[in-house]
């Protein structure tokens, strides 16, 4: 019988192991999310990341080795970003009918998200790569990673910050908007999509169909706006 160490040596070098583990970890996270009644705090990505990070630590596997396998999943972020055009196109008529409120809320929300995050972190002494990685955190995952790379941040750190932003938005949106007495579902959804991307959009769809559609539009538009704004705002802080 082949010894386990030998099998491990083979597997650790092969992309198969970490690709399979990544999908399995996400499947477990998703199952827990459903079992919790889709509570935003039980986030499947967060669960998968914590589980996989723990596994890498226990097995002393370098991140580069893990990424050999996981890169196949990571690669799909590009086409997924392109695919965002499809829901945007499907809601184009509604966007046209609400163009001014949408553009005003997009600009206000995006500038607030980038500016206040950088301002607070900078005032508390965060500098360099960590500060740069924070700038695109309200944009949807694939776009935020691309922006982070472009402006000299760390894409992996940005990925974590984007997930945390999404979870925060999904948890606070409903109580916050209720407290502000905002009843317009378009406004509620759109603001959540701009500030908290896909995770916020998924949450908005749970609450109300119109809110979900507008959240999707907000996420798509903010992907473009953050790509344009982040490099400009960053310049103001450096």
């Amino acid at each position: 019988m082949t010894d386990f160490a030998e099998i491990w040596t083979y597997l650790a070098r092969d992309p198969l192991l970490w690709l399979a583990t990544t999908l399995a970890a996400y499947a477990v996270g998703d199952a827990l999310f459903r079992a919790s009644g889709r509570k935003p705090i039980v986030n499947p990505v967060l669960i998968a990341v914590v589980f996989l990070a723990g596994l890498l630590w226990v097995t002393a596997t370098p991140y580069a080795d893990y990424f050999e396998g996981a890169q196949f999943v990571h690669f799909m972020l590009g086409p997924a970003t392109v695919a965002l055009a499809v829901p945007l196109h499907a809601n184009l008529a509604r966007v046209r009918a609400t163009l001014l409120p949408i553009l005003a809320a997009l600009l206000a929300g995006a500038v607030t998200a980038i500016g206040s995050a950088l301002g607070i972190a900078w005032a508390l002494g965060v500098q360099g790569e960590a500060l740069l990685s924070l700038a695109p955190k309200s944009a949807t995952a694939p776009v935020a990673l691309g922006i982070s790379e472009q402006i000299g941040g760390s894409p992996t750190l940005t990925a974590v910050l984007v997930i945390l932003t999404g979870i925060t938005g999904a948890v606070v949106a409903t109580p916050l908007l209720n407290a502000l007495r905002i009843r317009d579902w378009r406004a509620r959804g759109f603001a959540t999509g701009v500030a908290a991307h896909g995770i916020g959009t998924a949450r908005a769809f749970q609450v109300n169909e119109t809110a979900g559609a507008f959240a999707g539009v907000g996420m798509g538009l903010n992907a473009v706006l953050t790509a344009l704004l982040a490099p400009l705002v960053i310049r103001a802080f450096l």
Partner: protein, 141 residues
């Protein structure tokens, strides 16, 4: 701009693709990757700070407006990818293992920045939307 004749030709070609029963998923993925490629090449050629896939998204949106029939072709892959968008995020998220020491020292300020800025952004965005909608007389229907 697309000429009417070109548009008609594209539409005939699209119908042809479907009639020959070209596997829809492969065709859809080819379109998505093709638009991404066009975005990457444009961004690099012009030296733009915009990520290639974002430009690809803008190109696809323009194409969808010009040729609405394209939507049916791209949809199978687009819906599949977007339904599991969060999975695609996991490999990059695991990269946090390389940042644990940094998060240890500036984790608190970063977390505070994220929570406060997200609350502010949602509040400001929603209030702006409602305010401008009231000014322009736009109603939810």
């Amino acid at each position: 701009m697309f000429e009417t004749r070109q548009r008609a030709a594209a539409s005939v070609w699209l119908t042809g693709c479907r009639n020959r029963k070209l596997p829809a998923m492969i065709l859809a993925l080819t379109f998505l990757l093709g638009f991404q490629l066009a975005g990457e090449v444009t961004a690099r050629t012009l030296g733009l700070t915009l990520p290639g896939p974002v430009l690809g998204m803008v190109f696809l949106l323009i194409a969808l407006v010009l040729i609405p029939r394209l939507a049916a072709l791209v949809r199978s892959a687009a819906d599949g990818l977007l339904a599991h968008l969060s999975l695609l995020f996991v490999p990059a998220g695991v990269g946090v293992v390389g940042h644990l020491d940094r998060l240890g020292t500036s984790g608190g300020p970063i977390l505070l920045a994220i929570v406060v800025s997200t609350v502010l952004a949602i509040a400001v965005g929603a209030l702006t939307f409602v305010g401008v909608a009231r000014l322009t007389g736009s109603r939810d229907d």
